[in-house]
């Protein structure tokens, strides 16, 4: 598809960082407020889709090669599985997917008192890290889906058959 007019491009340039920050906020606070990896990733991917619609699929495919998105997606997925495997190997007597950072005093490991309703971002162990990994994968994955579909449809319209 071809891009839209100059006004649309300028406004989407201005709006893009705000939407991205909002999406990353949803990912990062997934263990406290509604949200998490998939929801925040979908918001950021919709911001990227707004850029795609404003600038046209041919220009965007020229700037962002599909290979890089694929590598980003793989990094997100691999870090998720490696975090799950670390539950077996890091602590003694661990199981797969064990939350080995909760209730220790390492990275995300403050203990939450029983029946407390105060929200502390420094809690919940390995869950925020997994939220980041899933969020990265969702951003790359959804953006790749929309980009490839738009690019393929534009190729059909031009008359090329493959």
């Amino acid at each position: 598809m071809s891009g839209m007019s100059k006004i649309v491009k300028t406004i989407s340039n201005i709006a893009f960082p705000f939407v991205m920050i909002y999406g990353l906020y949803i990912i990062a606070h997934g263990h406290l407020t509604p949200g998490g990896g998939f929801q925040g990733g979908a918001v950021v991917a919709s911001a990227c889709a707004m850029i795609l619609v404003a600038y046209g699929s041919v220009w965007t495919m020229g700037k962002i090669k599909e290979k890089r998105l694929s590598i980003l997606e793989s990094v997100g997925a691999i870090s998720f599985i490696v975090l799950a495997f670390l539950g077996i190997f890091i602590i003694t007597e661990g199981v797969f997917f064990k939350n080995f950072l909760a209730n220790t005093n390492l990275m995300f490991g403050t203990t939450v008192a029983f029946q407390s309703t105060a929200a502390n971002i420094n809690t919940a162990g390995v869950i925020p890290l997994m939220n980041f990994a899933v969020g990265l994968k969702v951003i790359a994955g959804l953006f790749a889906i929309v980009l490839v579909m738009a690019y393929a449809t534009s190729k059909i319209k031009e008359g090329k058959t493959k």
């Binding site: 599985i81 077996i88 199981v95 797969f96």
Partner: protein, 537 residues
């Protein structure tokens, strides 16, 4: 060294699912290094998965039920709210099937897929399909089963459409994904009904909480669950996706697809035998006629329904296979008939539960049906690999245009003969042992069933002899003058499965005693499945 072995064997259930998942996510990065390293990486990952699955099956057969809780200690009450894998002898039996098929498929794809593009996505998706299939076979939690079911169906739909230059492969994949997605959504609806009633998603806890007199919502959930799982397992009249999907996918993909279809069939058995195990002998309706008590229990009703569907499957499978011209579609319809055989035996075993035939004919029917799952997976897998080899050499699968291939492809002909004998139930292959048990047990239950079974076996033999004659024997056609034997990796894959078929055929007693009888006992014994979770906290 002992430490490492005991460490690995303590975490085996997690490794069996996590290793193919990790392999699937690493494949796009490995394939940037080169083609050969990606192929070797895929073979290593599948080989490791098969070894772990066989070790786990061995452990369960010797030591009893194993449970593995994800992310929790074995403290009080924590087991029941977490996702867990529970592996008893029936799961271990399915793990043996899942260990053989993907390894053969990936060894086969080394040679079969050599000149195609887009192969890094192919390997990723096959490893994802393997991980999903293994997760379906091992899980003890209903929602986890739904998630693995959807993973498997999405990955397999993308793989069925692999040859995108042919439009009909993509149309077959579209048909498959529509039917499979609706079926999975109804499975989710039934799981939501169970969750709303009992506030539990764990199979053992649901089995413990269903009252002996089934409520109205429980009956609806059972019907929806059985119908959707039967749709995924290609039981007539919901079998129509199977011919197109199996026939137009690449052959190595079809081999793993067989595993996923049989995993859905296993899930149907798990729902009937374990989750509703306490209600099976409960009388639903009883009348008194001339002073004589008649009562129909849930087992009778479900059993008669399953037997009726199975007979329909066998008839439709065999008669549609008779009129096919395309080699792969004919083998696909044979697969429909064979799934009908499995369901016939197990359905007959369910129908006589609680009666006087249960301990003799019913038990033999159950063992025959379960044994036939293993035999049929191997037979149909071998036949599809041979059909793929024929397509690789001759570039088409229509029987009318093939002929005289036995002169150039000697090994492939031998493998097709082994598959022919096995599928029609002739000795000394493995099909004979399981089909004999099915014939003799269903004859005691109702003679008409065994007449149908024997008749359709003979028709299958006729179909395959005709195919063998027209494809392999006969005069040499001039356009196949330069045809050579297929690459050696494809021969190795076919050889692995053929060796296992011959081994089971020559020594069926070993397999029956050590593998099939514990699986049949585990299916009948719902209370120890439940007690492993709720009793042993």
């Amino acid at each position: 060294m002992n430490d490492i072995i005991s460490f690995i064997s303590a975490h085996l259930p997690a490794f069996v699912v996590a290793v193919p998942l990790l392999g699937a996510f690493l494949t796009p990065l490995v394939s940037r290094i080169g083609d050969k390293s990606r192929n070797i990486f895929a073979i290593i990952i599948t080989g490791l998965t098969s070894i772990f699955a066989l070790l786990l099956a061995n452990d369960v057969f010797t030591n009893g039920i194993r449970t593995y809780v994800f992310g929790g200690d074995y403290a009080t009450g924590q087991t029941m709210v977490r996702i867990l894998f529970e592996i008893d002898a029936m799961n271990a039996f399915m793990l043996i099937i899942a260990a053989i098929l993907p390894f053969a498929a990936i060894v086969y794809s080394w040679g079969f897929m050599k000149e195609q593009t887009g192969l890094d996505k192919y390997y990723t998706l096959i490893l994802l399909m393997t991980a999903g299939m293994l997760g379906m076979m091992m899980t003890g939690d209903m929602f986890n089963f739904f998630v693995f079911l959807e993973i498997t169906s999405i990955a397999s739909a993308a793989l069925i459409a692999f040859w995108t230059n042919k439009g009909n492969a993509v149309a077959a994949a579209f048909k498959y994904i529509v039917i499979s997605s609706i079926g999975a959504l109804f499975v989710l609806f039934a799981i939501a009904l169970y969750y709303g009633q009992y506030n539990a998603l764990n199979m053992a806890v649901i089995a413990d909480s269903i009252p002996v007199e089934m409520g109205f919502v429980d009956k609806i959930a059972l019907v929806l669950l059985l119908a959707a799982l039967a749709m995924k397992a290609a039981i007539a009249p919901m079998h129509m996706w199977l011919a197109d999907a199996y026939g137009r996918a690449p052959s190595s993909v079809t081999v793993v697809l067989i595993g996923t279809t049989l995993a859905s069939l296993y899930a149907g058995f798990r729902v009937i035998f374990t989750i509703h195990g306490n209600q099976l002998e409960q009388a639903l309706n009883s009348w008194t006629i001339f002073g004589y008590e008649f009562s129909i229990s849930l087992a009778n009703m479900v059993g008669i329904l399953l037997v009726a569907l199975a007979v329909l499957s066998i008839f439709i499978g065999v008669f549609m296979a008779l009129k096919q011209v395309d080699l792969k579609k004919m083998i696909a319809y044979t697969a429909v008939a064979e799934i009908g055989y499995m369901l016939l035996a197990v359905g007959a075993a369910i129908a006589v539960m609680g009666g006087d035939l249960e301990a003799t004919a019913g038990y033999t029917a159950l063992k025959g049906g379960i044994f036939h799952i293993l035999n049929d997976a191997l037979d149909i897998g071998l036949l599809f690999l041979v059909a793929g080899a024929v397509y690789y050499t001759a570039k088409q699968t229509s029987i009318n245009k093939l002929g005289g291939l036995a002169r150039n492809m000697k090994y492939t002909t031998v493998f097709f003969l082994i598959g022919l004998f096995a599928v029609s139930g002739l000795p000394p292959m493995n099909g004979f042992a399981s089909k004999l048990m099915i014939y003799e047990s269903t004859f005691q239950i109702n003679p008409i069933l065994s007449i149908v079974a024997i008749l359709c076996s003979i028709l299958l033999l006729a179909v395959f002899v005709k195919v063998f004659y027209s494809v392999f024997l006969g005069p040499k056609l001039p356009k196949f003058a330069t045809a050579k034997e297929v690459p050696i990796s494809m021969l190795i894959a076919m050889g692995i499965i053929a060796c296992i078929i011959i081994f089971i055929g020559l020594f069926p007693d070993i397999v029956l005693q050590n593998v099939v009888t514990p699986a049949a006992n585990a299916l009948n014994d719902a209370s120890s499945y439940i007690a492993a979770i709720t009793g042993g906290i």
